[in-house]
């Protein structure tokens, strides 16, 4: 999910004469991440500290001169660079007070923009398409500048991107209604020209935004019909043939424009799944208001929206400059994505473009939007979306709390005991003391048993531990059980032949143990293939880490059925599973009723019920199959399903499963889900069993973890389409529930309105 937070005003704006013009020409980052360099539309450049909303410095050119390009920061020299009157490049430092006294150089051609990004030298882009590094240009300002663009071809937007020491300048041009993208590589210099696909309406793109992702440059552009397209250009290596290539594009998002077209809007990519859009009306608000919205392109959903008071400023003609730089460690792809989207004034093209695009800049988790009489800074956050979270249920519902909740010792009970039960407890301990006395003299203390564990033979250790646990009372146990378990596990780990399953199981059963007390226990059990102990631990430990859960899952799912069937498991869970399997074997359908799941689509509901045979053919895999795993294996998998987890932590470990395991597990989950969705099977309330929600959650998690692999795997195709139908049926269920909720609320309101006061005069009618 993405969220827009409460914004603040960075500075006020002085309205320009032309109301549609923005007072701001550009916002650039200083070397300091908290600084923003704001260039206004005429003569001045101001440096702000964003978090304090405080100006740190301001520089102005003389009256009569005009800044024609936003000031940028040369990150290498900590100097600022700006262009005035198209041809004069000015360079100054923080300490300089007067811009006129700063260094200036007049070049021989009109400059379009100066671009700068951390990790790269500033680059100068001329209006006719030539590109020079700033240093080399300043060393010979009057050098001849060649024309790259043809006649009538004008730059619309430009940006630069620094990736792995490779410096790119991107710019788009327009010529006779055709749009081109130029990708200029520096050192060595190569220029690639792409033609943008024509939109049907022959309209020009409203805004561009470029970002670097996975060593590819992603170009995002928005058309007036609300379509947001993405094109990918390889960032390195391959240099295509000379000439103009077509640039393939893919539709990422279709904004609900309503009737007509967007007059002016800008889209900027926030991350791979989120796009911020300004200038577009909110789908659910009345028109005429400007909103800042964040859309998720994966799910095509609106995730956050904020009304911007006053007009969002735009400029005539657009130039969107965007650059990206990465933090030092490029390989980690850590996500310092700094995008700049700029639209600014180019006096030459006033007549060409009548549309006005609003401005938005995005730096470091903050969106800068000039609107009304202020420049607002709005922090945002985009979280990674997953199917699991999109479905809305992350954690398992509070089932089976009864067992596990006891396991965490309460200090209160430990120290003071339960007050009301006080006398009873004393009696009990007295009794146990008596019984202890009456027991054989051999009964050992905890310390003695601990000593014995270190050296004693298996049988004796087993016997003594069991004796100790069975006679001890709860208070003593709380403290000693952990010690005993740790010692037993330590010895077992040291000596492969030493393993006391009975004693360990008994210790776990006291419910005084949890995973954090003895972290190696569960892994030890896995190692010794002691599935019964594993089951006990999964049932009784409230705090198993996700990595261990995953290890269990992996072991359970890959163990051959024959190995597990011999193991004796907890009878309740086995009988639950038997019931589940038998429920299907009985034929599944009652009175010819077929659960709605089998319907391919909701529109089928209007049709007459189809003959079952037809359905069989149509969707053979959906028919109830036998349980894909053995009974005991299923029991163990059920335990995993019921283990508490947090999906963010579980997801990376789930990726360890191989495709076959994933498919098998998904098949099993599908089996359980199908059983549950049949009316035939009614859950026995007493038995510990996974809930439908848990099953669904796990399906989502697996899909999130392995989606690409599953899409490629041919044997998963049927499974996926089935799962798709699950999702459909769930979505349908929830939409129905939503409707019910609506009508219930309606009822509620009706009741409220009937609230009767102390006195009223009413009219009734009798017939």
């Amino acid at each position: 999910m993405a969220a827009l937070y409460e914004g603040f005003t960075l500075c006020g704006l002085v309205p320009t004469q032309n109301a549609s013009d923005s007072a701001i020409q550009g916002i650039e980052l200083d070397g300091d991440s908290d600084h923003a360099l704001v260039t206004d539309s005429t003569r001045s450049v101001t440096l702000y500290k964003v978090s304090d909303q405080k100006p740190l410095g301001s520089w102005t050119v003389k009256q009569g001169q005009l800044l024609t390009c936003p000031a940028v920061c040369n990150f290498q020299t900590k100097e600022y660079v700006v262009v005035s009157d198209n041809k004069v490049i000015r360079v100054w430092k923080d300490e300089d007070f007067n811009l006129d006294r700063a260094f200036k150089a007049t070049v021989s051609a009109d400059v379009w923009r100066v671009h700068s990004a951390p990790g790269g030298e500033p680059v100068v882009l001329f209006q006719r398409g030539a590109v020079r590094l700033l240093d080399s240009l300043l060393s010979a300002p009057q050098q001849p500048i060649e024309d790259v663009l043809s006649e009538e071809e004008v730059i619309r937007w430009s940006t630069n991107i620094v990736a792995e020491k490779q410096h790119f300048v991107l710019f788009t041009t327009e010529q006779k209604g055709e749009h081109f993208l130029y990708v200029q590589r520096l050192n060595p210099n190569t220029l690639q020209k792409y033609r943008l696909e024509r939109e049907d309406s022959r309209s020009a793109p409203l805004s561009f935004s470029a970002s670097l992702r996975d060593k590819h440059i992603n170009l995002l552009y928005l058309y007036p019909n609300g379509c947001v397209y993405q094109s990918v250009v390889a960032a390195r290596g391959y240099v295509g043939p000379e000439g103009v290539q077509a640039l393939p594009r893919s539709l990422r998002l279709r904004l609900p424009v309503g009737e007509g077209e967007l007059g002016a809007a800008s889209a900027v990519a926030l991350d791979e799944a989120h796009v911020a859009v300004v200038g577009m009306p909110h789908p659910s608000a009345r028109t005429g208001k400007d909103f800042l919205c964040i859309w998720n392109t994966n799910f095509q959903t609106l995730q956050a929206g904020k009304e911007m008071a006053g007009r969002i400023h735009g400029q005539v003609g657009i130039r969107i400059w965007s650059y990206i730089f990465f933090a030092s460690n490029f390989n980690q792809m850590t996500l310092y994505l700094y995008l700049a989207l700029k639209i600014h004034f180019t006096p030459i093209y006033i007549n060409d473009h009548s549309f006005i695009s609003p401005q938005v800049w995005c730096y470091l988790g903050k969106l800068f939007v000039p609107h009304g009489k202020a420049l607002s800074v709005i922090p945002y956050e985009c979280q990674k979306s997953s199917l699991a979270s999109a479905l809305g249920k992350l954690r398992h519902a509070g089932i089976a709390v009864s067992k596990s909740s006891v396991a965490v010792p309460s200090w209160n009970t430990l120290l003071h005991g339960n007050q009301p039960q006080g006398p009873a407890k004393i009696v009990a301990t007295r009794k146990s003391k008596l019984s202890r006395k009456s027991q054989s003299v051999q009964a050992l203390t905890v310390d003695q048993v601990l000593k014995l564990i270190k050296t004693g033979p298996v049988d004796e250790v087993q016997r003594e531990v069991e004796a100790l646990v069975s006679r001890g009372d709860a208070q003593d146990l709380q403290l000693s059980v952990g010690q005993l378990a740790c010692h037993l596990v330590a010895r077992s780990q040291a000596e492969t032949t030493f393993y006391t399953p009975g004693a360990l199981a008994q210790l776990v059963r006291t419910q005084c143990l949890c995973h954090s007390v003895c972290p190696d226990l569960l892994l030890l059990a896995l190692e010794h293939k002691d599935y019964f102990l594993c089951q006990l631990c999964l049932q009784l430990f409230p705090d198993i880490p996700e990595v261990v859960t995953c290890a269990c899952l992996k072991t359970f799912i890959s163990v051959p059925d024959g190995d597990v069937e011999m193991v004796s498991l907890e009878p309740d869970s086995v009988s639950f599973m038997e019931g589940l399997v038998v429920a299907g074997a009985r034929g599944g359908q009652q009175n010819g009723f077929s659960p709605p799941l089998f319907e391919e689509d909701s529109c089928d509901a209007h049709h007459q019920p189809k003959p079952t045979q037809h359905q069989d053919k149509k969707n053979p895999t959906l028919q109830l199959e036998a349980c894909p795993v053995g009974l005991h294996k299923a029991v163990l998998l059920n335990e995993v399903l019921q283990t508490p987890y947090s999906d963010n932590l579980l997801l990376p470990h789930l990726k360890d499963l191989n495709t076959q395991q994933v498919i098998l597990f998904l098949q099993y989950l599908q089996f359980v889900y199908l059983k549950y969705s049949q009316d035939v099977y009614t859950q026995t309330p007493g038995l510990r069993s996974p809930t439908v929600t848990q099953v669904i959650d796990w399906v989502c998690l697996l899909l999130d973890a392995h989606f690409t692999v599953l899409v490629m795997a041919p044997d998963a195709k049927g499974l996926l389409s089935n799962l798709n139908s699950f999702v459909k049926s769930q979505v349908k269920l929830f939409s129905e529930l939503g409707k019910i909720e609506g009508s219930l609320q309606g009822l509620h309101k009706m009741k409220l309105s009937k609230d009767i006061s102390q006195y009223s005069i009413e009219v009734i009618e009798l017939f």
Binding site: Q758, I761, E762, E765, L766, F767
Partner: protein
């Protein structure tokens, strides 16, 4: 019928008091019920649980226990006195100090010759029941370590011992209640929630019933637990069932032959029939709850638009609001002015108000306690003023019912021995006694009175089910309406025809022509055809009858759950007709409707009704007292049970 403007009044904060004690007289099938405020009510269980009589309470009186001796009713309470009640004049006959501190219980032997009381000091005192009096006989001392044996004092049924006496075993819990049975079986209930059955001979525990884990338990008082088995054929006590009819503590229980009757802090009386005593589902086998008194606490001045609310300790006079708007059915009209509380009149003395009346012009107000009657002159036009009429005739000592004539020139007071006093207004705004109508037969108290609009007739009904009609011009008894077996619960004289409409506790409806001294044709037709079963199955009596002055065919009457407009011009419903037909009629078209109409137009929109009356401007006044509002004002129960037992 058309649209009606309804004043929906909810500002009458009537609050019944908690039920404290009950006694059932199996011979007369009357249940006596005592409330916390010291009032005693008599219910006739043979006559549809009709509330026959109400003896008003008194501040200093507190009743802990009631006891019938034959037809005589005794009470004992925390003031340490035993009292006997005069059931004809609805007042205590005498009271006697027992000199043993607060009295917790009173009980008689089966012969009705002796009364035993249990006092705070732990003694049991025996009184001899004489014809007009009771006389102290002897003291039974406490015996150490053993409880008072019933054989000592020849009480053959059971003896309740006060709670000060401990059990035969020393226990930390408090034994709240002990019952001693004739075969020496002792039943005890204690604060640990157990009911235990002991063998009195050997002192051994026979059976323990754990009734509830947490509640302070009063076995003969609380939570409807009863082993309704004071029969000992099988030697074992079996817990039969648990009832939960009350939201609050149950303070009184009585077992009658076919039902368990209970009452408590939540102020309503519950009659829970024991279903094994009934062969089939019938009217008598249903659960019955009695919330409201079966008499009027609201007087309505139809001309002036005033309402008088009667509380035990005060009277409230309200002026209704008004609205000049018009609306569709179902609308709530905007108020032109709000209702206004004109007056709060507190009673004088300890005795509670037993009846009150407001003249229809709104100029006179009267109320009575057992000791005095007061009349007030009211000015409500601009400046509200109230003046007590200082001189009242001496003969007017107290009244069971008060009623003004429609022109406010006379007041009628139901007095002792079923007589009616007529008090006339003289020129100087003082009232003088003009005549007394003695009762021709019964001496039972009059509980209903009504006059005709033309001032000619007065009808009075008493608890013996007699209705006397007096001619006010000739000042003599005109006739006695043929006695019907059920007590009249409401009656009214028609303004134009002078027919007397009577509704009885068994829901029967009669119309009697006073002039012709016979039932009217409509009434005969109704009786011939029989009332609809749905009408007869209602479980609350009709408590008010009024007429529509504009439409002589219409009679308005109401019970707790509905009001009904009877249109005598329409056909009577037969058993097959849909009785509650308003919804159906609404859905029908204008043309179809007439064929579906019948005489009983019932409206259930308003619930928990205390009064429904038709004002002279044709608008209806409906006084509601939602039970939820009563419940919300009750004190919190000791411990509420949240889950199933």
């Amino acid at each position: 019928m058309g649209e009606l403007k309804v004043h929906r009044v909810r500002f009458f904060d009537y609050m019944p008091t908690a039920i404290r004690a009950m006694a059932f007289n199996a011979h007369t099938e009357r249940l006596a019920l005592a409330r916390m405020d010291g009032s005693v009510e008599i219910f006739n269980f043979t006559d549809h649980y009709f509330q026959e009589k109400v003896i008003p309470g008194k501040d200093s009186r507190s009743i802990e226990s009631l006891c019938w001796v034959g037809g005589r009713l005794f009470s004992a309470g925390l003031n340490g006195e035993i009292a006997e009640y005069d059931l004809e004049n609805l007042r205590p006959k005498y009271s006697l100090e027992a000199y043993g501190g607060p009295i917790w219980t009173v009980i008689s032997n089966t012969q009705g010759t002796q009364l035993a009381i249990g006092c705070e000091d732990g003694t049991v005192k025996l009184f001899e029941v004489l014809e007009e009096h009771i006389q102290f006989e002897r003291n039974l001392d406490r015996q150490k370590g053993k409880r008072n044996s019933p054989s000592d004092c020849s009480l053959t049924y059971r003896l309740l011992v006060d709670r000060g006496i401990g059990g035969s075993k020393s226990r930390e819990t408090v034994v709240w209640s002990v019952a001693f049975l004739s075969d020496h079986t002792v039943v005890s209930g204690d604060s640990a929630g157990k009911v235990q059955v002991w063998d009195g001979h050997t002192g051994t525990l026979v059976k323990t019933h754990l009734v509830t884990k947490w509640d302070v338990f009063l076995p003969d008082l609380a939570f409807q637990f009863i082993a309704p088995t004071l029969h000992q054929q099988d030697k074992e006590w079996v817990r039969t069932r648990t009832f939960k009819n009350h939201t609050h503590d149950v303070r009184a229980l009585a077992e009658i032959e076919t039902a368990i009757v209970s009452g408590g802090m939540d102020t309503h009386l519950v009659v829970r029939p024991l279903l094994e005593k009934f062969d089939e589902k019938s009217h008598a086998s249903g659960l019955r709850k009695i919330h409201f008194p079966h008499r009027n606490l609201v007087s309505c001045a139809k001309k002036a638009g005033l309402l008088l609310f009667q509380f035990p300790g005060q009277l409230e006079l309200w002026r209704l609001g008004d609205s000049d708007g018009h609306g569709k059915p179902g609308d709530r009209l905007p108020l032109k002015w709000k209702p206004e509380k004109l007056l709060l009149l507190k009673r004088k003395g300890e005795d509670h108000i037993c009846c009150s009346a407001l003249s229809s012009c709104g100029g006179w107000l009267a109320y009575s306690t057992v000791s005095s009657v007061r009349i007030y002159r009211l000015q409500t036009d601009n400046n509200i003023s109230i003046t007590k009429v200082s001189k009242l005739p001496k003969v007017l000592r107290s009244a069971h019912q008060l009623c003004f004539s429609s022109d406010s020139s006379k007041m009628f007071a139901a007095s002792s021995q079923s007589s009616v006093l007529v008090i006339a207004l003289t020129q100087s705004e003082s009232w003088s006694h003009s005549v007394t109508f003695p009762s021709p037969g019964s001496r039972q108290p009059i509980h209903l009175m009504t006059t005709s609009v033309d001032g000619k007739w007065l009808a009075a009904a008493n608890s013996d089910c007699e209705i006397h009609v007096y001619n006010l011009q000739k000042l003599k008894l005109h006739c006695i309406v043929p006695v019907y077996g059920s007590c009249p619960s409401a009656m009214g004289i028609h303004p134009t025809t002078n027919n007397l409409t009577m509704v009885h506790a068994d829901q029967q409806l009669f119309e009697y022509s006073i002039v012709e001294k016979q039932y009217t044709d409509w009434s005969r037709k109704l009786q011939k055809q029989g009332l609809h079963n749905v009408w007869l199955d209602r479980d609350t009596p009709v408590t008010h009858v009024t007429f529509n002055p504009k439409n002589p065919n219409q009679v308005v009457l109401h019970d707790m759950h509905m009001f009904c407009i009877i249109d005598q011009s329409l056909p009577l419903p037969d058993q097959k007709t849909q009785f509650y037909n308003q919804m159906t009629l609404r859905s029908l078209s204008e043309q179809e409707r007439p064929s579906h109409l019948h005489a009983f137009k019932i409206c259930k929109t308003f619930q928990d009704l205390l009064c429904v009356s038709l004002l002279d401007d044709q608008s209806l006044v409906v006084v509601e007292r939602p039970l939820l509002a009563i419940t919300s004002q009750l004190p919190a129960p000791v411990r509420q049970k949240k889950f199933a037992t």
